[in-house]
Amino acid sequence: MSGLDLTPASVPAPRSVRIRQHALMETRLVVRNGEQLLLALVIPLGLIVANAAVGARIGIAREPFIASVIALGLWSSGFTSPAITTAFERRYGVLERLVATPLRRADLLLGKAAMVAVVALGQAVVLGVAGLLAGWSPQPRLGSSVVAAATVVLGLVAFTGLALILAGTASAELTLGLANLVYLIGAAGGLLVPLSAFPAWGQPLLAALPTTAVAESLREWSGQAAAGPFPGWTIVVTLVWAVIVIVIARKVFRWTS
């Protein structure tokens, strides 16, 4: 005899509780994961320290660079980390297991989104404080603040949608490799390097990427002169990406590997 009262009494917890439970679990697991921390904090902090040490000597100005590093961190938290964790959730049968619980698929996705938001916010605060300690002095204006806030939120949605497309279709190993490769490509293409530094012929292509849009909005927020085709263009770019990738993710995401 187990001594347990096994009389059936299966009642779902309220939806807000389920989402909070899932968000807390995902956040706890990500924060404990060394590889995710490396991408989310260690590499960006290293870049801030390196910039403080030698940036002036090699011609990399502090003002746009710190904002670029924050954008790089958001890219890792919004894309790389959810892609890898979700792919392994499929591999380990976690998603299949959770289907037979009151956690709805929408609850799971909202919990994941909350995890991304919490991690991204914490990361932005840590990197921002590190930047300030390194002498960063952003000069935000109301307009650029609104644009940056909207762009970052939409950009995180787009990043996470891309992560779900990759993780929901590829094997865990392939996702691991591709997510890290795409992280590096994103870093090189418009995240760390301002749009204006690229040749004119390549700028429209780069400007159409959500990574570039997020980074440019943060650079403009920190005081860099506006770049791009029209004011608020970063919102349009990230909004279009967010809508498209969410539609695709809903169609192609598979819950089992």
Binding site: T7, P12, L29, Y92
Partner: protein
């Protein structure tokens, strides 16, 4: 008592292979239904259809009076997957607290951990647990929400005889409490010990069904199993 689970003429093909073929069975509340079959017979696929992970090409699946995979069904079932089913870095205590938190009136996680002997390794990351310990955690996760119907996919595979008997005792407790238990197994002794009703699958098709006495008809269940089923020789066949 109405059936907790009904599968009626369920057919499913995956990648051009027929995995479930005219599968019909039912499982009653307060009874243990054992689904037997060799590797690749379609046992795990059947469970995946019952939880809505896979959608049959044709046929009907009713779970606790609701459509398989619907919230009304999945809210009230428990699932013990055959392999893993947990984040690699999660600790058993965290996993049980998390799963319990999805329900309004769950079993107390510490009580479940103590009853199954999980408290001895409750703080060890899941990936560092032995296969048997992982099985116990998966079993605990399946019952913590106090389900009306529980699917146990090879619940005692890899367990030593002591723990196997402990799991059998829990399954009997579930039955006594009125839970409908559907378990898959290769272990004929397990079916003989526990099952009120057995269904023997071969290549996704039921080839025998009834009580153990009815199906075995004076022979051992293993003899019947060997006579009525063929091994799946395809590598990596669907379980």
């Amino acid at each position: 008592m109405p059936a907790a689970l009904i599968l009626a003429d369920v057919r499913l093909s995956l990648g051009g292979n027929v995995v479930l073929d005219s599968l019909s069975l039912s499982a009653a509340a307060g009874a243990v239904t054992a689904v037997l079959g060799p590797n690749g017979a379609g046992k795990t696929t059947m469970i995946r259809c019952c939880t809505g992970i896979l959608v049959p090409d044709s046929g009907r699946i009713e779970v606790l009076g609701a459509v398989a995979g619907s919230a009304a069904a999945n809210d009230r079932v428990g699932l013990m997957p055959q392999a893993t089913g947990a984040w690699s870095g999660v600790r058993p205590s965290e996993l049980l607290e998390y799963l319990a938190g999805l329900y309004a009136t769950p079993l107390p996680p510490r009580q479940v951990a103590a009853a199954l002997g999980i408290d001895a390794f409750a703080g060890t990351p899941y990936r560092r647990l032995s296969g048997g310990q992982q099985q116990l955690v998966n079993l605990a996760g399946a019952i913590i929400g106090r389900p009306e119907l529980v699917f146990l996919d090879e619940p005692t595979a890899g367990l030593d005889p002591h723990v196997r008997r402990q799991v059998w005792a829990l399954i009997r407790d579930l039955r006594a409490a009125g839970v409908a238990v559907v378990l898959t197994t290769h272990a004929m002794e397990e079916a003989e010990q526990l099952a009120d009703h057995v269904v023997l699958l071969d290549h996704g098709r039921p080839v025998a069904a009834g009580t153990v006495a009815e199906v075995s008809a004076g022979r051992s269940l293993e003899q019947v199993f060997l006579e009525l089923t063929a091994p799946d020789l395809s590598a990596g066949g669907v379980a």
